[in-house]
């Protein structure tokens, strides 16, 4: 009989890192304090070669979170069945401890736009997102986590606050949430609300994983601060503080350091993981 159970039941409530191939040996030789890794699903959908071989080795040692960046859950059109089948194949093979995707869209018709694009929060988009999450959870046979976006603009047609929208998605689909506190900080700055207020209003009971990452600073046409999610630098102090603020309520959770561009050498990324471990220490 095929063993479909995860190799590791859940992600540990400790620091994890987004896996980059240049850190393969470092992770096997001196991982501490990193206790789990996250991979982008789409990078492991080739037929063979080094990516799959590396992931096979790492999965024996670490709980793995599979993080999709291409499913377009917020897309107006139907989910890409071929892509869903590829995800199913990856999840069946890898048996990850977690699967997560984004509250965003990236596919339009036959085009994949390679960015996490925003959607308005309305009754219509709520229905659409819930139907897509049902389809994902039914196809993969697992509960998924949904990540909050980083927002640069607002939709005049939105009738829901993001936190209420997410809470309703959780209530209707039974999915969990991936809370990206860097995204919260970015959106709150860009759209002019309090990041702590967002956390206070957020359905924290559903949080199965937390992300932190770096961002860039810019300004809009009026000179207002415009933060841009870049995952290309260290996490800034206010985001670490927002993490601590969140953990004080949730208690320990798996915390991932995302660093996808201008990826640093292992000691730098490991130092970020240490900061995540320090943030987790007081709430253990």
């Amino acid at each position: 009989m095929l063993d479909n159970s995860p190799r590791f039941e859940r992600l540990p409530d400790g620091p994890g890192v987004g896996y980059k191939p240049q850190h393969f040996n470092d992770l096997l030789n001196e991982p501490a304090p990193v206790s789990w890794i996250e991979v982008h699903a789409e990078n492991y959908m080739g037929s063979g070669g080094r990516p799959l071989a590396q992931l096979r080795s790492l999965a024996e040692r670490f709980p793995v979170s599979v993080h999709g960046v291409g499913l377009s859950i917020g897309g107006e059109g139907p989910l890409d069945k071929d892509h869903l089948a590829r995800l199913r194949k990856l999840v069946d093979w890898l048996r990850p401890a977690s699967f997560s995707e984004h509250l965003a869209w990236s596919t339009h018709g036959a085009e994949f736009l390679n960015d996490l694009l925003p959607l308005p929060y309305t009754n219509d988009t709520l229905k659409l997102v819930c139907a897509h999450i049902d389809e994902v959870q039914n196809t993969l046979g697992t509960r998924m986590l949904l990540e909050n976006p980083s927002s640069y603009l607002a939709f005049s047609e939105s009738t829901w606050d993001e936190t209420d929208f997410l809470a309703e998605v959780v209530r209707r689909t039974g999915c969990g949430l991936l809370l990206d506190v860097n995204n919260v900080f970015i959106s709150a700055t860009n759209l002019g609300y309090s990041p702590e207020g967002y956390i206070d209003a957020y359905p924290l009971d559903a949080v199965g994983e937390i992300h932190v990452g770096g961002h860039d600073e810019d300004t809009d046409d009026n000179g207002a601060a415009l933060l841009i999610d870049s995952h290309g630098k260290p996490v800034v102090d206010p985001v670490w503080q927002l993490l601590c603020y969140t953990l004080a309520v949730t208690g320990p959770r798996p915390v991932l350091v995302e660093w996808d561009n201008d990826v640093p050498d292992w000691p730098v990324l490991r130092a970020e993981a240490r900061r995540a471990a320090e943030a987790l220490q007081p709430v253990r």
Partner: protein, 247 residues
């Protein structure tokens, strides 16, 4: 004011188009530069994906020209799937038809070589053929059917494709000769590598891939290229692990 994803997408890939009105800053004013973040993300991320995928083309024309070229390509040819590892399948054809670079005739073939590396890198794993299988009497040998490994790719070119690759990747490599060169890409373990194919060998590989026996492939190749060197081609194929072990 609703904004459909069609409107959003149209404005995303066309910087001359107005930003949809239903998109706003926090004071209910126009989104303006805020929308440009998405425009920029899409074009920059796709351009970076192409630059990673086509290192030889980028070296030949320089990073700046490549960036301009990619800007045209990504707007006209956004990916058709979320598998960015395969993005750019139509880039060689695009280069062939791109008038400003038509003076560099070999550019499209260089893009095909870049693509071949990537396909080979992600191809299915397979045990390679044990050369001992070929240590047999000629009659038996010629009846054997060999299957190229999934990671084996042959590219035919009327340009000195192998020399062009080597000149741009190997220190002190000689300048490209004026010659047509076919290239064999194989992946012994995880890293694809290019090899210069002897004259006619591409035909021979093609015949084997179609299921011909060694004898049939040899005869077919000799008809078209009488100087085909089977021994040299076999040696190259075996040392570079071009063939998969029989299943």
């Amino acid at each position: 004011m609703t904004v459909s994803q069609s409107e959003f997408r149209a404005a995303l890939l066309d910087a001359d188009r107005a930003v949809p009105e239903g998109l706003q800053n926090p004071h209910a004013g126009p989104a303006g530069a805020r929308f440009s973040v998405y425009r920029n993300n899409v074009v920059v991320s796709l351009t970076e994906a192409l630059a990673t995928a086509f290192p030889l083309v980028r070296k030949l024309i320089g990073t700046q020209t490549f960036g301009q070229l990619a800007g045209h390509y990504v707007r006209e040819n956004p990916p058709a799937s979320p598998l960015m590892m395969y993005y750019g399948e139509t880039f060689p054809e695009f280069l062939s038809g791109f008038a400003p670079l038509s003076h560099i005739g070999y550019l499209a073939d260089c893009a095909r070589l870049d693509l071949a590396f990537r396909r080979s890198y992600h191809a299915a794993d397979a045990a390679s053929l044990d050369p001992a299988v070929l240590q047999t009497v000629p009659e038996t040998l010629m009846a054997i059917r060999l299957a190229p490994a999934p990671s084996t790719i042959v590219i035919r070119s009327r340009w000195p494709l192998f020399d062009l690759w080597r000149f741009n990747n190997v220190t002190d490599a000689p300048k490209p000769r004026a010659a047509a060169q076919d290239v064999l890409v194989t992946r012994p373990e995880f890293d694809p590598a290019p090899h210069l194919l002897p004259h006619g060998a591409a035909l021979w590989f093609d015949a084997l891939a179609r299921g011909s026996s060694l004898g049939e492939a040899h005869a077919e190749t000799l008809r078209k290229t009488p100087d085909f060197d089977l021994a040299a081609t076999l040696t190259l194929s075996l040392t570079t692990e071009a063939f998969a072990a029989p299943e």
